[in-house]
Symmetry: C2
Subunit: 643 residues, 2 copies
């Protein structure tokens, strides 16, 4: 069964496929006809006015792949109109960033004769996604052929099909040429240079480019700390009361680091045109359900779910669950300490090489258990947050991040805090910190890069083999590429990547004065992280849709909170150091008062610093003000004309 | 010499005078003719298109008042157009607030047949001020008759005339009818009720109405504290270690108080249409000077002053000056302590009534000295900030507020901190606090209300006498009213009023646990403050131009900073209390650690609370989102049409 136009490798040149749409293989023919018609229909009839063709498989293929795979493309003119719809900002002739309009398209910098060059690949795919997402039901009461798939005027067709499993997935297609070029400049030639952030943004969009920008910035920021850490490690190994200076450096570093990042990210986002872009009205997320009612803002029909019910779910189920998990985490910590004492006892009874290795075993086991608990908790948190039924994706994300952060923070750092401030055993703290850090880094690299890579290689081989049987030894054609990418894993967003950096930041900023090598380890980890993340984006996962991002969002807040906790922790560590205690031999009280005073001054200084350093560099502020001023003047002129 | 149309009391009915313009009495005739023509000229010719008439004095008046007094008014249509220009928000038929447009004027709620009722008096005057301020030079090179008063295209004519002293002042005229009605409902009938905030806003504008709203809210918020304070005072006078509970209450109160105020002010500002209003592009302030250059934002010619020079002035002159003043303040404090000891010694040698009264004398003298120093410093700070040559009024205000706040805080509270934490003498703290608070309240009321009132009465009498001589016993006519108001003092804005409330808030939130009557005193002070401020606005000062305000601005930040300091101070006071010390008889260290921990928890709780409580109430958020959504939809429709 083939509907409408179809595409095989011979007539592929007629349009550039940008997005792949996969429907369930038992989808009813009338539903497919209807959907394709709606996608192809003119905009004034409420359609998306996009090009869409079915992917045709050679008849001799006996493996029966899903026949309902469609390729979506678009004319250039439609894309340029779409760019105005989604409110893209582009570089104007005078070098400033301005909202793209179709009418003024020729005044934008990269606009060539036919209009190519203005939109990046990722932007074209983003526009198509936006047009598909906002393809709304008119007066259909249900999806043709599926009386149970109710529709109402204004409901997003794609979301309904997706939430009911008729639409299995839709994703952007890789561009082999660009990918080859990008991966060469990104990670294939081994050299000391910055990442090609603009190219990454061009290919993967702003959200991902900002993550890699942050990763790079964070790594560079750690280098001075690592450089200072090495002599500390080499020359003062047992002289662990020398860390006061290091702690002070730590404090200043973590504050300045985050403030400067804000300016960097504003500069990047301005250049990419996302800083001045207005946020579009947010649609309810795909999984949101409720009785049909009216949205108080839009006045449209839409599922409504009472906020009180959601609050009940949050406070009566989610919060107790999180608390229970935290209790469990503490319980596991206590078991770890028992194991630790047991190992120390054995070592003390019979100190040889075997038992000295045994000393590290509890920490390693604990590190592995922590990672497993984090993973399990992550699934539970996602399930619970989904069940809380948030209307907006952003609110879902915030609740998820909060749940995961609180647990991961406690799970990873509770034992270190306990060792540092309750047991006050600096030797154990250093040993435990080192083991936790190294083990979790190794586990992370394996889980995150090598495992998916290995799975992907196996899958690749299978597809390649099948293709070779069908086509002979020619290069893998579009057909094979689509089949391959359809089966690739979906990249779940930057969440886990940021979370990993957040925990690393915690290890460094909270305790690195006790174990100065921490920064060195994190720098090493992040260098390999850049390579493995880059490889994973290019070859292991499906290409993700671009996410327009202005900054790293809720993670900025998370990192700032961590840096405040770091001030408190470092001051307390300073207060505990024998060096400081030596200054006040007769009275602990005075020492504590002085440390507390210093801490308060530092915190106040931190807040003042955050307040004084402008979040956006001056020249970008001027450009933004210019934009604002121009639009005000234009508005005034319109008024004058009207009068 | 009389120019153009002139107005006497007989033909006043032809237009309603709204604003008075007073030029210097030796202004050259050609300059006056030119100015009046520019004001009357049509908008398309770059004029303000307003009505303006000279005020005529009876010929027999021998006192020779300034003849160059002009009355400015406007047609209703011009005002409605102006309302769109300045971007006023008004209540729409459906109850939401929408940007007023002349085209849709009939769809707004209070629009009657001829258009009266939509604009309040204060708004009309604000529009006229805006039109006068934005009356720009075209290609005049200087003011006619004044070759030295240079102009360049785009320069505000009024600002140039004002900065060179040709335009002495311009101010809005009181409306006798409305004023009578307002003052009756505001302060003339003595009753327990809220202030008529909407009427105040209608007559004086949003900025002032928000101040009175804040004053009222603050006073009501203090009532529970005052009620709890009274039994503390009555029954536990000497049992001053009972204040732990009170301090805890204090902490929670000061946090919740400020968070709830944000929501109240958002509600008020939404109803008044200022919350959703866009900020207009800010012009350079009147006193700003520099070499003529180009503004990077507007591209217009404008004085330019290098920011590096300003920074030099700030850091090399202003900051050292402030530090010097702080040193002086500390020096005075030390002199006060010497006096205090001297008084105590005399009392101890010979304890009788005379010497027990003498005990209070140092505090009273110190309080008076503090007030005098604050006053002097205020002038110096204003001079310095002006000399720093800030381009924008808002930046000028921020620097002024910062300078004044830092000094006033130290000047008023340093001695109390010293007594509490260095001398740890709670009896002296209480006595000093009470004397400072009561003395400063009395001084403030005298300086702020009675003195100007008395001066104003004398002036009133003079004008009334002259008028009666001229006109007989008729009611004071427009002529007299204008003359009277021209000579009234100018109200310098809400700065000093907020500053007073800020210091009172400090006394209550920092130390009231030691002297629970503080809240009672502040409540009593504020009740009279409402009356005296209301009277002063209505009868002592010139009517001020309305200031559109969304919130209390930088003062919110100031109060929040104070409430953070209050958490620290209260925790420290708790730690010092004998009650707490009794719990940990053997070790101070443990006590301090616990107090510090509690303090950190409270601060964290405070930040979380501030983060969790939304700044804008839900239903207003929905309305704002609706507005945003509608404008996005309208934009989309326009795009669709264009394509």
């Amino acid at each position: 069964m083939q509907l409408g136009l179809s595409v095989s490798d011979s007539d592929v040149s007629s349009f550039t496929p940008l997005v792949v749409l996969e429907l369930a293989d038992d989808t009813k023919a009338e539903a497919i006809t209807w959907l394709l018609n709606r996608i192809r229909d003119k905009q004034q009839n409420g359609g998306a006015e996009l090009l869409v063709n079915q992917l045709l498989f050679p008849a001799q293929d006996d493996q029966k792949p899903n026949p309902n795979v469609f390729l979506v493309g678009s004319t250039l003119q439609r894309l340029l109109n779409g760019a105005e719809d989604v409110g893209l900002f582009k570089e104007f002739q005078d070098g400033t960033m301005r909202g793209f309009t179709y009418a003024n398209r020729e005044s934008f910098k990269d606009f060539n004769g036919d209009g190519e060059g203005v939109l990046s690949d990722a932007e074209c795919q983003y526009i198509i996604k936006h047009e598909l997402d906002t393809l709304r039901a008119k007066n259909e009461e249900h999806v043709p052929g599926y009386p149970k798939l109710k529709l109402y005027p204004g409901k997003s067709v794609v979301r309904r099909l997706q939430s009911k499993g008729v639409l299995i997935q839709y994703f952007p297609l890789h561009n082999k040429e660009d990918l080859k070029r990008l991966s060469f400049s990104w990670y294939k030639k081994f050299k000391l240079s910055f990442q090609p952030l603009d190219d990454i943004r061009h290919y993967f969009g702003e959200g991902l480019a900002l993550y890699f920008g942050f990763l790079e910035y964070f790594t560079f920021a750690l280098v001075p700390m690592a450089l200072i850490g090495i002599p500390y490690y080499l020359f003062d190994w047992e002289d662990y009361d020398k860390y006061v200076l290091f702690a002070v450096f730590n404090l200043v570093w973590s504050t300045v680091f985050l403030e400067v990042w804000k300016r960097c990210s504003a500069t990047l986002a301005y250049g990419w045109g996302t800083l001045s872009r207005k946020k579009a009205f947010e649609e309810p997320r795909a999984g949101f359900h409720g009785a049909l009612g009216f949205n108080p803002v839009t006045g449209r029909e839409e599922p409504v779910y009472p906020s009180s019910k959601r609050q009940l779910r949050i406070y009566l189920v989610s919060v107790p669950f999180v608390l229970l998990c935290l209790y469990l985490s503490f319980y596991v910590m206590m078991v770890y300490f028992d194991m630790e004492f047991w190992a120390i006892n054995i070592y003390n009874e019979n100190p040889d090489i075997a038992t000295s290795i045994l000393l590290f075993v509890p920490s390693i086991i604990y590190a592995v258990v922590i990672e497993i608990m984090n993973l399990l908790y992550r699934f539970a948190a996602e399930f619970l947050t989904d069940w809380e039924n948030h209307r907006l994706e952003s609110s879902f994300q915030n609740h998820l991040v909060l749940k995961v952060l609180v647990f991961n923070f406690v799970n990873c750092f509770a034992s270190l805090f306990y060792i540092a401030f309750v047991m006050q055993d600096m030797v154990l703290l250093r040993q435990s910190l080192a083991t936790l850090l190294i083990t979790s880094q190794i586990l992370n690299q394996v889980m995150e890069a090598f495992l998916p890579y290995w799975l992907q290689r196996r899958r690749n081989k299978k597809v390649h083999k099948r293709m070779r049987r069908l086509m002979g030894d020619k290069e893998l054609p579009l057909l094979g590429q689509v089949q391959l990418e359809t089966e690739m894993n979906t990249y779940l967003g930057t969440f886990d990547d940021y979370l990993e950096q957040f925990l690393l930041f915690g290890y460094v900023s909270l305790f690195s004065c006790v174990y100065p090598l921490a920064a060195v380890l994190v720098v090493l980890n992040n260098i390999t992280e850049v390579y493995s993340d880059a490889f994973k984006m290019c070859h292991v996962f499906k290409r993700p849709f671009s996410e327009p991002a202005t900054n790293i969002g809720v993670w900025q807040l998370a990192f700032e909170t961590m840096s405040i906790i770091a001030v408190v922790t470092n001051c307390a560590l300073i207060g505990l150091s024998p060096q400081m205690k030596a200054y006040f031999p007769e009275s602990d009280t005075q020492l504590i008062l002085i440390v507390v005073t210093i801490e308060h001054v530092l915190l106040a200084f931190k807040f003042i610093l955050a307040f004084v350093i402008p979040d956006v560099p001056k020249h970008i502020q001027v450009n933004l003000a210019k934009l604002e001023f121009d639009s005000l003047e234009a508005l005034k002129k319109r008024w004058k004309l009207k009068i």
